[in-house]
């Protein structure tokens, strides 16, 4: 007689055993699939990281390149600005000279009120020290320009450029001096007759007292006191409020052996303008220091 219960339990065991290989295969495949997926995912993440790192490094390089190019551009801008400032300063000098000529012109009172207003608008009220620096072509004048350069840099760039600017200023300190020296040589060249003629031509076109004062000063420097007298006189006719113009006018008279006339003119101008420079020159002429 067959024991059914025993056979049933044996069959159940057999069935479970028969499923074990399938279960093992399924579990193994699942594990393999999971591991493969994990490996692939990690690889893709690593690749992405590499790409990101690569991208970051590229971006960093690009940023460095951009910074370098920015530096170059800034340097160019600075050099252009410096040149512009130098050019402006040259114009500035001429304007101021013209203004000084106008001061001397006041006693004559030949200029109309409209012309006066126009010239007043053009006045930039420079200091006498500044004028002296122009006359002497000294280095401190250019140092002031360097300072002005720094001021002219736009505020938006200031913060970003601060450190770079400091380094650049330090680094470019010597080239600036060299450049300023070069510029001073250019000014020396302007003392030549051709340059004076060029300025005279410009003066004839626009009748700017700064230009005529410039011409008067240059003629005085090269010892052509007749012409310096004439251009100082012209400047004073255009604008009689320019100290420098009256001073050049008085100096030229002294050099032309018209010391009395120079003293008389200076006294009249001092009465009118109470100019300190004019007083100093008058004292020097009176004491015989200036001959």
């Amino acid at each position: 007689m067959i024991n059914i219960n025993e056979l049933e339990s044996r069959q159940l065991k057999y069935k479970i055993k028969s499923y074990i290989p399938h279960a093992v295969i399924i579990v193994s495949l699942s594990v393999i699939a999971f591991v493969s997926y994990a490996v692939l995912t990690s690889k893709s993440v690593a690749n992405k990281k590499d790409e990101l790192m690569h991208y970051t490094s590229n971006t960093h390089e690009m940023a460095i390149d951009t910074a370098k190019s920015m530096q170059t551009v800034e340097e160019k801008i600075l050099s252009v600005e410096r040149k512009t400032e130098i050019a402006k300063s040259n114009d500035f000098k001429m304007q101021n000279t013209a203004q000084e000529i106008q001061i001397q012109d006041k006693p004559i009172n030949k200029i109309t009120e409209n012309e006066k207003n126009e010239n007043e608008k053009m006045l930039l009220s420079p200091s006498l020290d500044f004028m002296k620096k122009i006359n002497n072509n000294t280095l401190p004048y250019y140092e002031n320009i360097t300072e002005d350069e720094n001021i002219n840099i736009s505020n938006s760039h200031k913060k970003a450029k601060e450190k770079a600017m400091e380094e650049k200023v330090e680094l470019t300190e010597e080239p600036i001096v060299e450049e300023s020296k070069k510029t001073s040589m250019n000014i020396t060249r302007q003392n030549t007759h051709e340059d004076i003629k060029h300025v005279i031509a410009r003066f004839k076109k626009n009748n700017n007292p700064a230009l005529s004062l410039f011409v008067a000063k240059k003629y005085y420097e090269i010892g052509d006191y007749h012409k310096s007298y004439n251009y100082a006189l012209i400047t004073n006719e255009i604008n009689n409020n320019i100290d420098a113009s009256w001073i050049v006018f008085a100096k030229s008279l002294v050099k032309l052996n018209k010391k009395d006339m120079a003293i008389k003119t200076l006294k009249q101008y001092i009465e009118y303008s109470n100019s300190g420079q004019a007083k100093i020159l008058l004292d020097e002429i009176m004491s015989g220091k200036f001959q």
């Binding site: 007689m1 067959i2 059914i4 056979l7 049933e8 044996r10 069959q11 065991k13 055993k17």
Partner: protein, 269 residues
Amino acid sequence: MKSSIFESSKNVFLDTVNAKDYIQLDRVSTIYQSLKNSVKKPLKMILLYGKPGTGKSMFLNKLYHDLSVSQKVYLYSTPILDESEFFKTLAHDILNVKYRGELNFTQFMAVVNEKMLNEIPLVLLDEAQLYSNALMEKIRLLSDTRKIKFVITLHKTEKEDLIAKEHFQTRIWESIELENASNVELKIYIQKKLMKANCFDSANMFQNKPVNLIHKLTKGNYRDTNKLLYTLFDIYASYEENNSVKINKNNISNKIIEMAALHTGLIHD
């Protein structure tokens, strides 16, 4: 009675060799017809071989049953391992000569040559792999005399193949191999066997799915199939007797097939 269905079905698969239980299958019928034709030819020896349970004994029984009507056929299902006894049995059956003492091969050959037989007797030796090599060699010499024709069955193993090669290669004129049944053949075999015993309900329970499982477990071996199905119906009979709710009478349950296979040792838990 319903319970008798499973009992009678169980008895169908009793492992017995009976020519009446022979099931006609297409391939088997072809082979059998080939064997019958070979017997009629003047062959010295016919070798029938195959794995255990492929139906060799049944074939031999069927052949004996069919040919015994028309000619002298002697079937020895159980090997006679003693040489003298073997020749004495042959002398008694074929020549009607009784020997009380020893009868060796030479004496038997002398008797065979003396006796003028009207027709060549056909001797069917089952399980020939059990005979000794010396006796097999003497059987070969007997067949060479063309006085007696032999049909022998061998298990197809490496050893039996070696015997076949060494002793019968030059003398066997016909060799027939029997193989396990295919799925389709097994289904036909089971259904025909059940229907032959009027177990139609049981035969209808064997659809393709359970037959495929049976074939998987038995590899189409007829003897194993008989054993499995005998146990299967025994289990069904037990369920029917104790807990008939658990069984489905329309289909053979895979669970019960596996239980039967466990019981018969075809599978192990």
